[in-house]
Amino acid sequence: MSTFLLRRLALVLPTLFFVSLLVFGLQQLLPGDAALALAGEERDPGVVAFLRHKYHLDEALPVRYVLWLKGVLSGDLGESIRIKRPVRDLILEKLPVTAELAVLAIVIALSIGLPMGILAAVKNDSAVDYAATMTALWGRSIPNFWLGILLILLFSVEWGLLPASGFVSPAESLSRNLATLIMPAFVLGNALAAVLMRHTRSAMLEVLSADYVRTARAKGLSEAQVVLHHALRNALVPVITLGALEFGELLSGAVLTEQVFTIPGFGKLIVDAVFNRDYAVVQGVVLCTAIAFILLNLIADFAYALVNPRLRG
C-alpha cells in the first residue's frame, strides 16, 4: 500500500509542471492585448506601456514563464492586474466558497443519485427503473443556467423564500449561508445525481448478477443485506472514481452556476480573469485546480484500496 502511494506521489510534480506549461502556453494563444484590455476606456499609451513593463508583458514568453515559476516556487503566485491583489489571497478567499458549494452539491448528488441507482438496479426493468432513468435524463439534459434562473424566479421573485443571489459566509450566519447556497448546490447536484444514478445502476446490475451474490441469497440473507452489504461495496468502486472526478470538476468552479447566482467562487474568478486577460489569476487558479484534481485522484485510489482489499497489494 505504501509503495502504491509513493509511486502515485512521484507522478505529482511532473504532472503539475506539465499543467503549468500548458496553461501558460494556452493563455498566450488568446487574442487580445492584456495591457490594452486593462488600461481602461481611454487606453492612455503611457498607462499601457506601464502595465506592459510592470507585469513583464513586454518580455519574451520563456522569460515570463521562468519569472512566474520562480514566484510559484517561493509561494508568490503573482498579482491580479485588474484589482491589484495577490493571486494567493484571492485563491484563499475563493477556495472555501467553491469548496463548500462543491461539498453541498456532492451531498445532494449522492443523496439523490445513489439511492435512485440502487433502486433502479434492484427493480430493474420495472416502472421504478424507468422513472429513475427518465429523472436522470431530465437532470442531465436541463442546462444549469436555465434551471438556475427558473429557481430564482420561483423561489426568490415569486415566492420570496430564498435570496436570489449572493453569498454569506458560514462564519457570519450559517442559516443565511445555507439559504444562499441551496439553489446553486441543487442545480449542480441535480446534474451530477443523474450521472451518479446511471453509473450506480450499471455497476449494481453487474454485481447483482455475480455468483457470490447468488450464494449470499442462497444462504438466506435478507435482500437488504445482500444489496447493501455485499453488492454495494463492489459496485462503489467505479462510483468512487466518478465521484472524485466530478468533485474535482466542481472545485474548478461551476462557471455558469456561479455567474447566475453570483457566488464569488473559483468559477467566477477565472471567467473574469480570462475575459480581462488577467493571466496571473488564470494561471494560479488552474494550478490550484490541478493540485486539487491530483489529490482527489489520490484519495480515490486510497478509497479503492479501503473498499476492495484485493487492491491493497
Binding site: 488568446l30 487574442p31 487580445g32 492585448d33 492584456a34 490594452l36 484590455a37 486593462l38 488600461a39 481602461g40 476606456e41 481611454e42 487606453r43 492612455d44 499609451p45 503611457g46 498607462v47 506601464f50 502595465l51 510592470k54 485588474r82 484589482i83 491589484k84 491583489r85 484571492l90 478567499e93 475563493k94 434562473i149 430564482i152 424566479l153 426568490s156 421573485v157 415566492w159 420570496g160 423564500l161 430564498l162 435570496p163 436570489a164 443571489s165 449572493g166 453569498f167 454569506v168 457570519e172 450566519s173 442559516s175 443565511r176 445555507l178 439559504a179 455567474q259 447566475v260 447566482f261 453570483t262 464569488p264 467566477k268 474568478l269 473574469d272 475575459f275 480581462n276 486577460r277
Partner: protein, 502 residues
C-alpha cells in the same frame, strides 16, 4: 388544513433572519460588474467610479444640467490670461482618517494624479504644469496653455481628493482601503461579492446624508440583478432598456431615467493600414450613403424600445453644444444609392466588427438590414471585447460598432477620438482644420465662443464621417418603492445625498 407554502416560507424566512437584524438604513445597490481598484488615480472602470462617488468627494461636481457646481472647492476664478485657476477650498473638511483637507492635500492629490506611474488620470489634467499653494485654503493650478475643459475634468475622478497621510502610507495599495473626504468611508470589500461603506460622521455636508450604510453588490447577469430587485435583495440598480417592460409590469419597483452623456457609433478605418483601403474607408460619399441608409429612430424603437436618444453628433441633441443647424438626417435610400453610384461603388462590402453582446449584435443586424436596401453588403464580425480592442488599435478593422461612456465637457467626447495621432483615434482620421478648431475650442471659456469652433469642426466631421454617431444611451434605474430622494444625473453616478429608505 395546513398551508404548506406558508409554513415553508415562515421556516425559511426565519432562516434568513436568524443571522441578525439588518441595519435600518442600509442601501443595497446592484452593479453590472465587479469594480477594479478603488484607487482614484489608478482605477479604470465605470463601476469603480460609481462606488467612489460615495467614498470620495472631488473639487467640483456637476448639476442636473451638467453645470459645474462646487464640492470641496467652494469658489474658483480664472486668471486674466486663462492659464491659471485659483481655487478656494472649503474650510473645516476632514478626511476619513481625521486629517484636514487643505491646500497641501489638494496639491498632493493633483500631483499624485499627474505623476504616479500607471495613473489613468494624467491625460485628463496634463494641461496642469504645477500647483501653487497660496494659503491654507487657496491653491492655484497653473497651465502652460488655456484649457477650458479643466473644470469639467476636476469634476471627475481627476479632481478626487485623497488623504496624503493615508495615500503615502499605502502607496500603490491605497485602493484596498481608500481614505477620502466623501460622505461614506470604506469598511470592507470581498472581491466579486460586496463592497461595504458606512456613514462618515464628520462629513462636511452630513445633513444631506440619511443612510447609515451602502452595500454594493456586483451582479453581472441583468436577469438575476432584476430578480434581486424584485425579490427585495437590492434597493437600487441600473437596468437595460430591454428589461424595462418587465420592470413596468411589476408593481413593486419604481423607475427613473436620464439622458446620458455617452454615445454609440460606427468608427471607420479611414487611414490605419491596409484595411482602410476600401471604397468605404477612402471615399466619404460611401460613408455618407451608409449614414443615409440608417433610420436612427427605427433603430432605437426596435432595439431599445424607443428609450434611447438618436443622435448624429458627439453630444446628444439635448446638449447645449449640439449644433442644431445640423440635425439628424432622415433616411434617404434614393440619395444613398446616388452617392454610391457617384463613388463608383454601387455594392460596397463592409466588414463591421462588433463585440459579443446580444444588444450590440442586434443593433448591428438592424443596421445591416437597413444598409442592404441601399446596396451595402455588410458583414458582421462578432469578436470578444479584448480581441476587438486589439484589432482596432492595430487597424485590423473596417468599421467598429463601439460606444463611448461620455464626458461632461464636449471636448471629452471628441478630442482624443478624432484629432490627428490621438491615442484612441483607431481609424487614424486626421484633419488639420478639425484639429485647429478643437484646439481653439479648448482655449476659450465662454460657451458661445467654444460653440463657434465646434460648429466649424462639425461641418467637416459630418461630411467626412470618420464616426457615424447613432444614439445616446439613457441611464435607466429601477429601485425599491422604499427608496426616496433619488435623483438621476447625466453622468450615471449614484449620489447618496438625499437618499433614504422609508
Amino acid at each position: 388544513m395546513i398551508n404548506w407554502r406558508t409554513l415553508i416560507a415562515t421556516c425559511l424566512f426565519g432562516f434568513t433572519l436568524s443571522g441578525g437584524a439588518a441595519v435600518a438604513q442600509t442601501l443595497r445597490i446592484g452593479l453590472a460588474e465587479d469594480p477594479d481598484m478603488l484607487d482614484p488615480t489608478l482605477s479604470r472602470t465605470f463601476v469603480s467610479y460609481v462606488v467612489r462617488t460615495a467614498l470620495c468627494d472631488k473639487l467640483f461636481d456637476i448639476g442636473l444640467e451638467q453645470e459645474i457646481v462646487p464640492q470641496l472647492a467652494s469658489q474658483w476664478e480664472w486668471t486674466d490670461d486663462k492659464r491659471g485657476l485659483v481655487i478656494k477650498l472649503r474650510p473645516g473638511v476632514k478626511f476619513h482618517d481625521g486629517e484636514p483637507f487643505d491646500a497641501v492635500a489638494a496639491k498632493f492629490s493633483i500631483e499624485r494624479h499627474l505623476t504616479m506611474p500607471g495613473s489613468t488620470r494624467k491625460s485628463d489634467i496634463s494641461a496642469i504644469s504645477r500647483v501653487e499653494i497660496i494659503d491654507d485654503h487657496t491653491a492655484k493650478l497653473v497651465m502652460s496653455t488655456p484649457f477650458a475643459p479643466l473644470l469639467a475634468q476636476l469634476a471627475t475622478s481627476a479632481g478626487t481628493m485623497m488623504s496624503p497621510k493615508a495615500a503615502q502610507a499605502a502607496g500603490e495599495n491605497f485602493g484596498s482601503h481608500p481614505v477620502c473626504a466623501g460622505p461614506f468611508k470604506f469598511v470592507e470589500r470581498v472581491v466579486q461579492d460586496r463592497i461595504v461603506l458606512e456613514r462618515f460622521a464628520d462629513y462636511w455636508d452630513k445633513d444631506k446624508i440619511k443612510l447609515d450604510r451602502i452595500v454594493y453588490l456586483p451582479i453581472p447577469d441583468t436577469t438575476v440583478r432584476l430578480a434581486n430587485l424584485q425579490s427585495g435583495g437590492l434597493d437600487l440598480t441600473q437596468v437595460a432598456a430591454t428589461d424595462l417592460d418587465t420592470v413596468r409590469k411589476d408593481p413593486r419597483p419604481k423607475l427613473a431615467a436620464v439622458n446620458g452623456i455617452g454615445y454609440s457609433g460606427i468608427t471607420i478605418n479611414v487611414a490605419n493600414g491596409e484595411r482602410s483601403k476600401t471604397p468605404f474607408g477612402q471615399d466619404a460619399r460611401v460613408r455618407q450613403a451608409l449614414e443615409l441608409s440608417i433610420d436612427r429612430e427605427a433603430l432605437n424603437q426596435v432595439v431599445f424600445n424607443g428609450e434611447y436618444q438618436p443622435g448624429n453628433q458627439w453630444v446628444p441633441p439635448t446638449n447645449s453644444y449640439y449644433d442644431k443647424e445640423r440635425p439628424i438626417p432622415a433616411r434617404d435610400i434614393a440619395k444613398a444609392k446616388a452617392l454610391l453610384a457617384a463613388a463608383a461603388a454601387p455594392n460596397p462590402v463592409v466588414a463591421m466588427t462588433v463585440t459579443n453582446n446580444p444588444v450590440v449584435l442586434q443593433t448591428a443586424q438592424v443596421i445591416q438590414a437597413m444598409a442592404k436596401e441601399s446596396g451595402f453588403d455588410m458583414r458582421i464580425q462578432a469578436t470578444e471585447f479584448a480581441s476587438a480592442l486589439q484589432l482596432s488599435a492595430k487597424g485590423d478593422f473596417e468599421a467598429f460598432l463601439l460606444g463611448w461612456t461620455g464626458r461632461i465637457d464636449p471636448d471629452g467626447n471628441i478630442y482624443n477620438l478624432i484629432t490627428c495621432n490621438s491615442p484612441f483615434n483607431d481609424g487614424h482620421y486626421c484633419s488639420p482644420e478639425v484639429d485647429r478648431e478643437l484646439d481653439a475650442a479648448r482655449g476659450v471659456e465662454a460657451r458661445v465662443d467654444r460653440m463657434f469652433h465646434y460648429r466649424i469642426a462639425a461641418e467637416h466631421l459630418l461630411l467626412d464621417l470618420p464616426i457615424i454617431y447613432l444614439y445616446h444611451p439613457k441611464w435607466l434605474y429601477a429601485m425599491s418603492a422604499r427608496l426616496s430622494g433619488f435623483t438621476s444625473y447625466p453622468d450615471g453616478l449614484i449620489r447618496p445625498q438625499g437618499l433614504r429608505l422609508d
